[in-house]
């Protein structure tokens, strides 16, 4: 309990720093720390799957994205040039937000203990899914439709990001150019780290059916490895019009849809799996989904096409 109190104090302190810091860059650094601390909190809440996602995606990839943005936008007008809301507005907002916090806190204290839960149901049916990690069972079987729609959400976010390209660079390479320095330290690190990271990513994905892990966590690690390699200039993103790239992007959701629709024929319903083959079918979905999510995440961080295609 003493550990928990310390952790909560730290989380709140870092969160306040993130909101209050004068420099945007400092605030982003605070946010990354906030994410890592939250990952610890998730471990304390007996949710290791979420802890991994929080650390990899919520803190790591989001943090990287925001860090990149804050340095890119660093040359903008200082905070002084921006109209600050008046003191009365700030006071009103502070009162409102305090009320929200107080209300939520009261609700937390009123919360039923034990809370209503679906854990027994999830466990009672888990044999039919062929999985033994209940979180993966929820993601891939009980609520597979959410996961399917979510892969589409990611894809659409990427289409949205790409839509922000300038017309003349459409068909070009995403993101800024990173010069390769064959003797640079980053190159050295990338050469060592990336193969290990890819291995870890695949392991995390693979172990997801029986232990904490899964396609989102694995895909995030894979995406991060690609980002490191591209920062070191070892790889570059392909032009956004490449057919194989587009195929890699939709392979996951498309196969998810296809197997879902096949469920009409083989299991009597959309996204239903016949019990004997459930595990195999889920794996057949997960492999391309991991690939597609990893590609999408990496390209979301890279940003819209910025460099005209080489002729």
């Amino acid at each position: 309990m003493a550990f928990d109190i310390g952790l909560v104090t730290l989380v709140l302190g870092v969160a306040a720093w993130t909101i209050g810091a004068r420099e945007t860059f400092a605030a982003v650094v605070g946010f990354v720390a906030y994410g890592l601390l939250l990952a610890l909190v998730w471990v304390r809440l007996a949710a290791p799957d979420v802890a991994m996602t929080e650390a990899a995606l919520g803190s790591g990839l989001t943090g990287g994205l925001l860090l990149g943005a804050s340095t890119r936008l660093a040359r903008t007008d200082g905070p002084a040039a921006i109209e600050k809301p008046s003191a009365i507005m700030r006071l009103a907002a502070a009162v409102l937000c305090t009320l929200v916090s107080a209300g939520l806190a009261a609700l937390v204290l009123l919360m039923l203990e034990p809370a209503p839960t679906l854990a027994p149901r999830a466990m009672a049916n888990i044999a039919a899914t062929g999985l033994s990690n209940p979180v993966t069972a929820v993601l891939m079987a009980y609520r597979a439709i959410d996961t399917l729609l979510e892969t589409v959400v990611l894809l659409l976010a990427l289409v949205g990001v790409w839509s922000l390209a300038r017309d003349r660079v459409w068909g070009g390479l995403p993101g800024p150019y990173h010069r390769a320095d064959p003797h640079g330290l980053l190159t050295f690190t990338a050469q060592i780290l990336v193969p290990i990271g890819i291995l870890i990513g695949i392991y995390i994905f693979w172990v997801g059916s029986v232990a904490p892990g899964g396609e989102f966590q694995g895909a995030t690690v894979l995406a991060a490895m690609w980002i490191i390699a591209s920062m070191a200039g070892l790889v570059d993103a392909p032009p956004v019009t490449r057919r194989w790239l587009r195929l890699a992007l939709i392979a996951g959701p498309a196969l998810f849809f296809a197997i879902g629709l096949a469920g009409f024929a083989i299991a009597g319903g959309f996204l239903a799996y016949p019990e004997s083959h459930a595990k195999l079918l889920i794996l057949m979905i997960e492999v391309p989904v991991t690939l597609s999510i990893a590609t999408t995440l990496a390209l979301l961080v890279a940003g819209p096409p910025e460099r005209a295609p080489a002729r």
Binding site: M111, L118, D146, L156, L164, D167, L247
Partner: protein, 503 residues
């Protein structure tokens, strides 16, 4: 068991899968095929939508589907009642009209892929799939994902031309939408914590008047209001809807803002029918009234036609929320058998058709003249007579003059207000109608005037596109011939039937 999946439930799956699969196929095959794919998906989607409507109408029962054969609370259900079916058919027809209209603007070059057309068709199809997911969604978290999909498809439509002002508008829109979705999600979390399910039907049986439920409904409603742009959370709407290319504006104003409104209706009347108090409903109605007056007044002062139409959307959204104070806990019968409830829903549908048509009119005029300044419209009725006529037809709905869907909707709200003794809403409806008349005539008077010098047309507008606009505007007029009372289709599957055999 009445709560099982129904025959024909697979149609609900198709309503989501078809457009989304079309969007993914467009992405793979590239810009040259995007338009063709969209135009193939559209008639198929209309068939699915009409089939859903027909089954709900004929069987007089809800269409229900449990995804993966997992029934709630563990699984996710899709469910189409009369209201959903109506919205699905509306969306299908409107998307088709908009697609046909957009062909000229986003037609494809034969050799290389271009950004704007590719993105437009993918986003249009995805908006459609996401709307269907919202209309049939029965699980609060599934609906959260659907709402986010809708947002991510709608926001880039605003900034398709990449100008600084539309980028600003898109960013502001996104920030408002994210603010809304986080509040919505917070509410959903509280409901799960209290009742152990996110399924709307199960929730409606379990929910009680207690702090957690109260907090959840307030948070979710506030979040959805930010997404629906109800005054005073409307700031993002006019620049976004006016800045988008006109087919996109038509989708955004006609359909996208109706999705969060639809969910507020679901929450208030299906999930927690016994919860809302008159006082809270009065607040919602008050915001609606403020939107009507404020939006109309600002619309009157606009210089540009598209901004005028966008501010008119702010006002017309206000009418939707007048149904809450008038339909919550009526003295006799159910909320959904009141004239106000039907009037509100009808307002959503007729405004969708009318406003889509009017945004397209503005687009055609801007294409022909090279600008959309209201002061420079003189003589345009000579060159684009059908287009200006379509604007006038759409205007009937906004003003609430017969014959039009808007007239029936507003007449029902009016009678409901008088019958409930809440005369102040009647005053608002009438004032809003007068102000709408003001800004519609402001445009028509200019457009019908003779030009002092011959108009210099930048491009000729094909009769086909004018016809599409006219048909949509005519649809808004034809809605005026529905009977002036709560009608049956919208009643199908309301909770009084469903709760009767609660699973």
């Amino acid at each position: 068991m009445p709560g099982s999946a129904t025959a024909g439930g697979f149609l609900l799956v198709l309503a989501i899968v078809l457009p989304v699969a079309g969007a993914m196929l467009s992405l793979v095959l590239g810009g040259r095929y995007a338009e063709r794919i969209a135009l193939t998906v559209m008639p198929t989607g209309v068939v699915v939508a009409v089939a859903i409507g027909a089954i709900v109408w004929r069987t007089h029962n809800v269409l229900q589907y449990f995804v993966g054969k997992w029934d709630p609370p563990l699984g996710v259900a899709f469910r189409a009642d009369g209201l959903s079916a109506t919205m699905i058919v509306t969306a299908a027809l409107l998307i088709c009209g908009i697609g046909l209209f957009a062909r000229a603007q986003f037609s494809l070059p034969r050799c290389v892929e271009e950004r704007a057309p590719l993105v437009f068709w993918i986003l249009l199809l995805t908006v459609w799939g996401a709307l269907n997911a919202v209309f049939i969604g029965c699980d609060l978290f599934n609906l959260y994902v659907a709402l986010e999909l809708l947002t991510f498809a709608a926001v880039p439509l605003v900034s398709l031309d990449g100008r600084a002002e539309t980028l600003t508008a898109a960013l502001r829109y996104l920030l408002f939408a994210l603010f809304g979705s986080i509040l919505y999600l917070l509410g959903a979390v509280l409901l799960y914590g209290a009742y152990g399910t996110l399924d709307m039907v199960l929730l409606s049986g379990r929910i009680r008047a207690e702090p957690a439920a109260w907090a959840a409904i307030s948070l979710m409603t506030s979040g959805l209001l930010a997404k629906a742009a109800l005054y005073p959370l409307h700031l993002w709407l006019p620049p976004a809807h006016a800045g988008a290319p006109s087919p996109a504006s038509a989708v955004l104003s006609g359909l996208v803002v109706k999705a969060p409104f639809f969910l507020v209706v679901r929450l208030w009347f299906d999930v927690m029918p016994r919860l809302p108090e008159h006082a809270v409903a009065q607040v919602l109605g008050g915001l609606g009234a403020a939107a009507i007056i404020f939006g109309s007044l600002v619309a009157l002062r606009q210089v540009r036609l598209k901004l005028l139409i966008a501010y008119s959307t702010v006002a017309q959204i206000g009418y939707l929320f007048l149904m809450f104070p008038l339909a919550v806990k009526p003295e006799t019968g159910h909320p959904w058998s009141t004239a106000a409830w039907t009037g509100g829903v009808l307002q959503a549908i007729s405004h969708a058709f009318a406003k889509a048509a009017m945004f397209m009119v503005a687009g055609l005029i801007a294409e022909a003249l090279g600008h959309d300044r209201i002061a420079g419209l003189a003589g345009v009725s000579r060159v684009l007579p059908i287009t200006v006529f379509a604007f006038a037809l759409g205007g009937l709905s906004l003003m609430g003059l017969p014959p039009s869907g808007g007239f029936v909707a507003k007449a029902m709200l009016l009678t409901a207000a008088v019958a409930a003794g809440q005369w102040w809403w009647a005053v608002v409806v009438l004032t809003g109608g007068l102000l709408a008349g003001g800004y519609v005539f402001l445009v028509l008077v200019r457009a019908l005037a003779d030009a002092s010098e011959p108009l210099n047309l930048l491009s000729t507008i094909s009769p086909g596109r004018q016809a599409v606009v006219a048909v949509l505007a005519l649809a808004a007029v034809l809605l005026g011939f529905v009977p002036l009372r709560p009608f049956e289709l919208l009643q199908i599957g309301r909770p009084d039937i469903a709760i009767g055999g609660l699973r």
